[in-house]
Subunit: 248 residues, 2 copies
DNA sequence: TTCCCCGCTTGATCTGAATCAAAGCAATAA
DNA sequence: TTATTGCTTTGATTCAGATCAAGCGGGGAA
């Protein structure tokens, strides 16, 4: 079992070199053991819905492999993605039973789950898990607010550049970057999903991706594989050079 | 000192009739007492900035009276409000030292503050304060996500109606509504601030407010006082009949 | 009283992104 | 091999909201 196969997320690794969003094999503590005892796995096929908005969610979970999205929908079908779950990300709401958005697997998905009750009991007993969860939630909130700026005020081109920058950064942080070849990654989303995330239409997404390619900001290999030669340039196109690469 | 003058927010009132977002005079517990000991007050004038994005924030606080906004800004000056703080709302990030947005007083503002360190110590000792804070943060995250749907997918008219509905609801919950006259409230924001919240221009806000008035959805008394005769109609105009009235 | 200022409204015009419509392309099935 | 299907690109046109530009109205200062 490799490092990234058990991303419980909830354990902060004191002095070990692995970033604390993934569990580190070298440091296992009491609450990690407790978590091990109550965890179980669930897998979903690409396109399958994990939970519907309003449903009872009786577990919390983190993504092991695959990608899931959180979306909200208006009656007439207009859709807005409100979150993207990559491996090692957490979903769930200790202290809340229902979710306010649909969770959907966009690729085949494996999640590591904990039933809510024992998880909450464990939180009671080991307070720093709760603290960690609070920090994670605050990070998500920051990310959501950054996204509000994007949705409310950025142009289509800036939106695309921002999304590419975020995916690039998150992907790089999972991949333990190999020195300094050009930064490359696969888009985990279709054009339509990108549109739903950015508050655009798929046609506009396609046009702006083409424009960024034409202008040499990115290169493409096939439709999905992106090559970024100059990350600083991409950030500039994104409209804010803030480090914005917060989780979610 | 009336009920709403000490909105520490962090205390959940077991069986008392007051909603738990404001502190209840009837139930005081140990941690409430601890909070009393470390709290202090700060006041700000309308227009004054409480903290700048990136600054160190060495306290957490809740709003006693007045209104504050959270905003993010792009280099070229485009602004997006990402939160609105009304009396009893909480700001601050236990476990984090810097904030990612500007906090500005839009009216004269009185805040009840707790220095971060003793507050965090207190959180350690009384875990349910941490839990409560996690719940509040999760609620804020839900609200932020609902706002993402608004920013990404709603029309200008729907945005205005949504904002009015949210303000109406929050205002009503602070005012202990007097039976069933028509629902009325004062807009706490200028047209420009509304625009910054909704990702619009002030001209568009003005036009759409006029349109809602023309169509009989709302009535105005002066520029700021709003009368809603048919709240259901307003919600319908807002585009989703979800109960959407989550905090923030 | 007058003036000025600020927040607001309204009108005319422009434009970025949406919409409508066709094709292209690559992978899988037949 | 050809057809089918799902995703993507590109073009033509439209339209909601932005931008540019006046003008209004109420409150405070002189």
């Amino acid at each position: 079992m490799t490092l990234h196969e058990v991303p419980t997320l909830l354990h902060r690794c004191g002095d070990c070199p692995i970033r604390h969003r993934a569990v580190c094999a070298r440091c296992d503590s009491e609450e990690l053991t407790t978590l091990e005892q109550i965890k179980y796995y669930r897998s979903y096929q690409a396109g399958q819905t994990v939970i519907w908005s309003g449903d009872k969610m009786d577990f919390v979970a983190s993504v092991v492999t695959g990608i899931a999205t959180l979306t909200q929908t208006l009656e007439d079908g207009r859709r807005q993605m409100v979150g993207l779950l990559l491996p090692s990300d957490f979903v769930g709401r200790p202290g809340r039973q229902t979710v306010a958005y649909d969770v959907t697997a966009t690729t085949d998905l494996l999640m590591c789950c904990f039933r809510r009750k024992p998880f909450e009991d464990m939180m009671q007993k080991t307070p720093h898990v709760g603290q960690r969860l609070l920090e994670m939630t605050l990070d998500e909130l920051d990310a959501a607010r950054e996204w509000m700026l994007l949705l409310g005020r950025k142009t289509a081109r800036e939106k695309i550049a921002s999304l590419l920058a975020i995916i690039a950064r998150r992907d790089a942080s999972l991949k333990l970057r190999d020195a300094k070849g050009p930064l490359t990654f696969d888009l985990p989303l279709t054009r339509e999903e990108m549109a739903d995330y950015l508050g655009l239409t798929l046609e506009t997404v396609s046009r702006q991706v083409s424009a960024l390619k034409r202008d040499g900001v990115i290169a493409l290999e096939g439709k999905r594989h992106v090559i970024v030669n100059d990350f600083a340039r991409l950030l500039e196109e994104a409209g804010d050079d803030s480090d914005g690469g917060l989780p979610v």
